[in-house]
Structure formats: structure tokens, C-alpha cells
């Protein structure tokens, strides 16, 4: 029982981790929690759905198409909405993200309606793999693996590529980045594109478990945000770990205590973390030398 809960917790947690990562990547560059993240992912998932069902493309093409769409969407939103803000403060940027969250929600409702749809996924949610005492569905296994692969890619990207390092540099000190010739605006666009793509992966992996309608990402986004706060909004690894921890705790709570109150755990955890370690469990306290 325990192992079983742990395992499915991990798989849910990996989705939270993805959403948390997507949010943190943006948060680190512009200190804005992007509340439009969920809707961006939802819209991309709908694009995958349209390519797959309406136009009858193969899953691989639809998947890649949706990711491309997500990347463009992210860069577009950054370019059209955020960059226009002149000398913005954090609050106004947050409001902008809330604004396009609503716009995107509206667009999805208008284009695809409020019907609940089913995203045909090539990996089954019902066939199970036996892992000793516990079982895991193929879908959950796929989610776990895809997430891990994506995280590995991200790690390598930030560690070894010039653009990745330049992104970190921009996050840490935009002025110094500019005088070293890093085009900060371009980096911001790339950041948004990346984040949006990661969110889209989460959305597509989530769609077969949940139902595909404009509310698809509402709760997962809050959970992802909670994981990011739990792990620390400033660390990629921390926020991903936060996602897994939240997934596991939530599932254990659902299994042993109460299924009805399962969703509330996330918010209880946020409150606790904010009380005892506001920067997040894994954030490194870094004191800047003057």
C-alpha cells in the first residue's frame, strides 16, 4: 500500500515538478510568478488535441507541433505583453500575466468550448507494469521517464551550453549581462519559450488523466506553484524536488487520512513553508557582498 501510494505520488509529483520548473525558469529571470503558465499549457494541449483528432496527424507530429506552438506562444506573450511595459514593477507584471491568463482562457473556451474532451494518448492508463509489490500504469511510468529526461536535458542545457549559461547570467545580473554583449531581451524571449514548452509537456501528459477542457490546468498550476514555493522559487533543482515531495505527501495523505481533503494538503504545506522557511526548503541563502 505504502509503496503503491509512493509510486503514484511520484508520478503525479513529476507533473507538479514540471510546472514548478516552468514557473521557476521565468521567475528567476524576471521575478514574476507567471500565473498564465497553466493557460499557456492548456492552450498548447488543445493544439495537440486539434492536430491529433481534428486533423488526424500522428501522435508524434501532434506532440512536436504542440511544443512548437507552446514555444512560439511563450515568446509571443513575452514580446507583446511584457516587453511593452515601461519600467514595470513586479506587481504590474504579475497583473499582466493574470491578464493574458484570462485572454488565453477566453480563447480556449471560444475555440474549443467547455466540453470535456479526451486526448487519445498512445500509452495506456489502464495497463499496468508490475514492480515487485507495487504496480504502475504505463502512462505514469511514461510521465516519470519523460519528466526525468526533460530535467536531465535542462540540467545539461544550463550547465554546458553558452545560451544556458547566458540565461543564468541574465538572471543574476542583467546589467552586467548587457555590458558583456548578451542580448537580454532575446534571452527573455528564449526563457519564455522554454518555460512554455515545459508547461506544455506537463499539460499533454496530464490530459489523459484529467479531462481536457479549459479548466485543465487550474488545479495543477496551483499545485505546481505550491511545489515551487515549497522547494524554493529560486532553485530549479529545489522546485523540482518540491514537486515530487508534494506529489508524494498528497498521495499518502489521500491514502491514509482523507481523500476528500487531498487537495488541501498543498496549501497547508505552502502555509507551513512560508511560516518556517519562507525562501523555500532548498533555496540557498546567498548574501550579496557589497
Amino acid at each position: 500500500m505504502f509503496l503503491q501510494l509512493l509510486l503514484s505520488g511520484l508520478s503525479f509529483g513529476s507533473l507538479y515538478a514540471l510546472i514548478a520548473l516552468a514557473m521557476v525558469i521565468i521567475y528567476k529571470t524576471s521575478e514574476v510568478p507567471n500565473f498564465g503558465q497553466g493557460e499557456m499549457a492548456m492552450l498548447s494541449t488543445f493544439v495537440a488535441f486539434t492536430l491529433l483528432v481534428t486533423y488526424g496527424h500522428s501522435f508524434a507530429i501532434s506532440f512536436i507541433g504542440a511544443l512548437l506552438f507552446a514555444a512560439l506562444l511563450g515568446a509571443f506573450l513575452e514580446f507583446v505583453f511584457l516587453r511593452r511595459a515601461k519600467d514595470p514593477n513586479i506587481l504590474s507584471l504579475i497583473l499582466i500575466t493574470l491578464g493574458f491568463e484570462m485572454v488565453l482562457y477566453g480563447v480556449a473556451s471560444w475555440k474549443w468550448g467547455a466540453d470535456q474532451r479526451d486526448l487519445p494518448f498512445p500509452v495506456s492508463d489502464f495497463d499496468l507494469v508490475n514492480l515487485g509489490p507495487a504496480v504502475i500504469s504505463y502512462l505514469n511510468l511514461a510521465t516519470l521517464l519523460v519528466t526525468l529526461a526533460l530535467m536531465l536535458l535542462l540540467f545539461l542545457f544550463f550547465r554546458y551550453t553558452k545560451v544556458g549559461i547566458a540565461m543564468k547570467a541574465t538572471q543574476q545580473n542583467p546589467m552586467a549581462a548587457r555590458v558583456n554583449g548578451i542580448r537580454v531581451n532575446r534571452i527573455l524571449s528564449v526563457t519564455w519559450a522554454m518555460s512554455s514548452t515545459i508547461g506544455a509537456v506537463a499539460g499533454i501528459m496530464l490530459a489523459p488523466v484529467a479531462t481536457l477542457d479549459p479548466n485543465l490546468m487550474l488545479e495543477p498550476l496551483l499545485k505546481g506553484f505550491a511545489s515551487a514555493v515549497l522547494g524554493g522559487m529560486t532553485t530549479l533543482v529545489g522546485s523540482a524536488l518540491g514537486g515530487y515531495i508534494l506529489g508524494i505527501i498528497e498521495n499518502l495523505f489521500g491514502g491514509y487520512v482523507s481523500l476528500e481533503f487531498k487537495s488541501i494538503v498543498a496549501f497547508g504545506i505552502i502555509v507551513l513553508v512560508l511560516c518556517f522557511k519562507p525562501s523555500g526548503l532548498f533555496a540557498k541563502h546567498y548574501i550579496k557582498k557589497v
Binding site: 553558452k162 549559461i165 543564468k168 545580473n173 548587457r178 555590458v179 558583456n180 554583449g181 557582498k289
Partner: protein, 258 residues
Amino acid sequence: MGTLLEIKNIETFYGLIYALRGVSLTVEDNTITAVLGNNGAGKSTILKTVMGLLDDQPDKGTIEFLGRRIDGKDPEVIVRMGLSYVPEGREVFDELTVKENLLMGAYIRRDRGGIKSDFDRIYGYFPILKQRENQWAGTLSGGEQQMLAIGRALMNRPKLLFLDEPSLGLSPLLVKEIFRIIVEISRQGVSILLVEQNARMALSISHVGLILENGRFVMKGKSNELMQDKDVQEFYMGVRSEESAKGFQRWKRKKRWR
């Protein structure tokens, strides 16, 4: 000798503050030019204006680098023309390693071989950086961070290097070391525009010195002549020209340039 940088009559506002009130300055090939002045005189503002870091500034005047207008251009563009800037207070990337910081300095370059040899050159100037190669820059001491900031600026092979207060917050010994390396860098054919409060040190290594007060240049001359100037000695180098009989001075020498 050709002229690298020519600033003509720039005026800069910081919001409502009139920071530069008509500043003209030229930097020649293969020289070290020092701009001296007190806190708030506008020294750093000159560099920031030229680098394009201040939005919509300079308000008036022109800036030419290598014969091309650069006023109103973005720093990203200016850097690509061969002008590097070491900001005041180091501004290294705290959570990147020393190596990554230097790599960011070479961000605009594509030639792998050249970058590699420049790494060796910088580690030659600052051997301590080689030892700290894989450490986060934020964990370095102030002096090491300054060295890193200079090294990073050199990584894009500038023709002209701006140094903003390289001696800020460093021990006298380190200041000496940094200035020794600045001289060495300039011998390699990099011109330097140095902004400093430490007048004695700056004048001792520079060829031309300028003194800035309240956003205007009040004095310009060869560095060794400025060092002999009574006013400069009194106001910028802390030399007292006359001992008072009572052992303390109750009057101030009048500045002659006002």
C-alpha cells in the same frame, strides 16, 4: 596616434538631476586616461552614458567610437564594437563559476581557439583565478572579484577598456597589484579610460588626467604635470601645502579653477 573615443559636449540627466553639464573628452590610442573627482561629481555617469546604460541619454551631445556615432545605441551593440566596461562594484555573476564568468565575457565571440588562448592570457595576469576556476564568483574575495571583472571585460578583446573605480574597497596592497596589471594590459595595446577616486594611484599610471567637478571638467593635463599641481595635491591627494602655526588648519585653500 589616432583618436579612439570622442565625446563632445554630452549632457546627461538622472531623472531630474543634471548630472553631466557638457562634458567633452577624447581618448587616444594606446593611452591610459584618468578621470578624477569626488563622490557625485559624475565620473561613473560618463562611463554609463557612453556604454548606453542610461535610457534616452545623453540628452545632448555626441559620442563617437572609432569614427562612428554610438550615442543612443544599446550596450549590446556598443560592446560588439570593441568597447569593454568593468562596472563599479565588480558586478560579477555571483552564482556562475569563475570560468563561466570569463566565458560570458567572450559571449560575443565565435573563435574557439582565440577564446582558449585568451583564457590562458587572463590566467597569466591573475593566477589566483586559475586556482578558483570552478568556484562560484560570489565566494571570491573583493580583490579576486575585481580581477575577475577585469578579466571578463578583457575576454572580448576590447580596443578600449572602461574601468570604474577598480580600487574600490580593496586593500592598498591589492590596489597596487591591480594597477600594476592595468599598466601591463595597456602595454598590450588596449587603451584605458580609468575613473578613480584614488588620485595618486591613478595619476601615477595614466598619461592624461582630467578632473571632474559637479558634472564639468575643471582641469586637464598630462598626469605628471597634474601631480605637481598645487590644487590637485591639496584637494585630491591630501597633501597640505602650508602647515599652520598652531598645528591645525582653520582655513581652506581656495580652488583656483572656479
